[in-house]
């Protein structure tokens, strides 16, 4: 092949290659979660649920599971049947408590969390007599509807996790007031080793 023809071929190949450097396929009008949309007037692709409608599977007729209250408004005194009690529930509760509650209520439930130390209104300690005597459903109700300065966590914590957290709060209350004599020998040793004053 003559050199100038070779050069022309190379130039053509380069042109074709460069023409491929476009982002059209990367940026298609596909609706990704929370992406903006030109179709809706408010510009939001994530649509709020229209008033007076119930999405399929969201009827939530089982009030106690979703709100912590029976249909007659009485707070539930224990876990609803679809939440089986066990170590897994408490561990899930501890994990979610650390995410959603500890910023204010702190990891021991004494209401001295980081956000409180930064100036948020101090909540009641979980070891306060009123909350020790409160029914389990009370905690689920507060997470669902908010209480005082605390807003509702219904959109952040799914119902099954709210029950797990409530169960873990109960465990925290038990732990805070457990007599040393009731601990296993192993736990007593660890307590002594930690230097804590029971």
């Amino acid at each position: 092949m003559r050199p100038e023809r070779l050069f022309a071929c190379a130039l053509l190949a380069l042109g074709i290659a460069l023409a491929g450097c476009r982002q059209d396929m990367h940026d298609q009008p596909r609706l990704k979660p929370l992406r903006e949309s030109e179709f809706f007037r408010d510009g939001s692709g994530a649509r709020p649920i229209p008033a007076h409608t119930v999405a399929r599977g969201n009827l939530r007729a089982d009030t106690v599971f979703y709100t912590g209250k029976w249909a007659d408004g009485q707070l539930a005194d224990g876990l609803p049947p679809q939440v089986p009690f066990g170590r897994a529930l408490l561990e899930r509760g501890r994990d979610r408590y650390g995410v959603f509650c500890a910023p204010c209520h702190d990891s021991a439930g004494t209401a001295r969390g980081m956000v409180v130390r930064r100036g948020f209104k101090q909540p009641t300690s979980f070891h306060d007599p009123r909350l020790r005597e409160a029914r389990l459903g009370h905690f689920v109700d507060v997470m669902t509807n908010g209480f005082g300065a605390m807003s509702s966590y219904a959109s952040q914590i799914p119902p099954e996790d709210r029950w797990a957290i409530a169960a873990y709060v109960r465990a925290l209350q038990l732990a805070e007031h457990a007599p040393v004599a009731e601990l296993s020998a192993e736990d007593r040793e660890r307590l002594a080793a930690s230097g804590a004053n029971p």
Binding site: H26, R35, S44, G98
Partner: protein
């Protein structure tokens, strides 16, 4: 007739030819490597957001966990951006009058969402699912870097297909216990390789190399 070119023209001609080859190869190399630069991948680029939200402050100093705001990180294809109401959980009382937070309050009053700019923007032909990566024990910081040290969030990984495949080929070495997924600055135990083998079995982690894993 005298010579048109003197002897030095030979050297000039050779140099020109050599330069042409170097230039062509260099140009091709430049075009090919352009895709790896942050100009295309947007890696480490600081993106201007409507609010100067600092993960360094909220995560690193206050200690708020990823899931408090990105509530869907373990349940959905997208970890999610919190609604303004989540900001107001604390900022109804803390810095409640701060001018820097006025756009947050305005959004809360009007219901018009804040327009955050997507930092991790995958191409539209990639169908990424956030929850499965979390479920298999890939830590937040493995892909997102030390978010707890970022005042403004940047994309820590190149997010190129080569980068995805690097892990999809051999995912085991990026595993950690599910309980440590959101931990920033995780200190791996000494028997890490052994633990990862164990986790891979327990979580049923597979190397996913089929095209249709990510492209539909």
């Amino acid at each position: 007739m005298s010579q048109l070119f003197d002897r030095s023209s030979n050297a000039l001609a050779r140099t020109t030819m050599a330069l042409a080859v170097v230039l062509a190869a260099g140009g091709l190399g430049l075009v090919l490597s352009l895709g790896q630069t942050s100009w295309v991948t947007r890696q480490n680029l600081l993106i201007k957001q409507p609010i100067q939200f600092s993960h360094d402050h909220h995560v690193g100093q206050i200690g708020i966990s990823c899931g408090y705001c990105h509530t869907a990180y373990e349940r959905s294809s997208s970890a999610g951006i919190p609604p303004t109401a989540t900001c107001m959980n604390c900022h109804s009382q803390i810095w409640a009058q701060a001018p820097i937070l006025e756009p947050v309050r305005a959004s809360f009053r009007s219901g018009q969402p804040l327009e955050w700019v997507r930092v991790h923007d995958l191409p539209e032909f990639v169908y990424f699912d956030h929850s499965i990566h979390v479920a298999k024990g890939v830590g937040c910081e493995t892909c997102h870097g030390r978010i707890d040290e970022m005042a403004g969030v940047t994309q820590a990984a190149p997010l190129t297909m080569a980068w995805c495949l690097d892990c999809h080929r051999d995912p085991v070495r990026n595993l950690r216990p599910r309980s440590e997924v959101t931990t920033m600055g995780w200190k791996p135990p000494e028997n890490l390789a052994e633990l990862q083998q164990e986790l891979a079995r327990e979580y049923n982690v597979q190397s996913k190399m089929s095209c249709s894993t990510c492209h539909r």
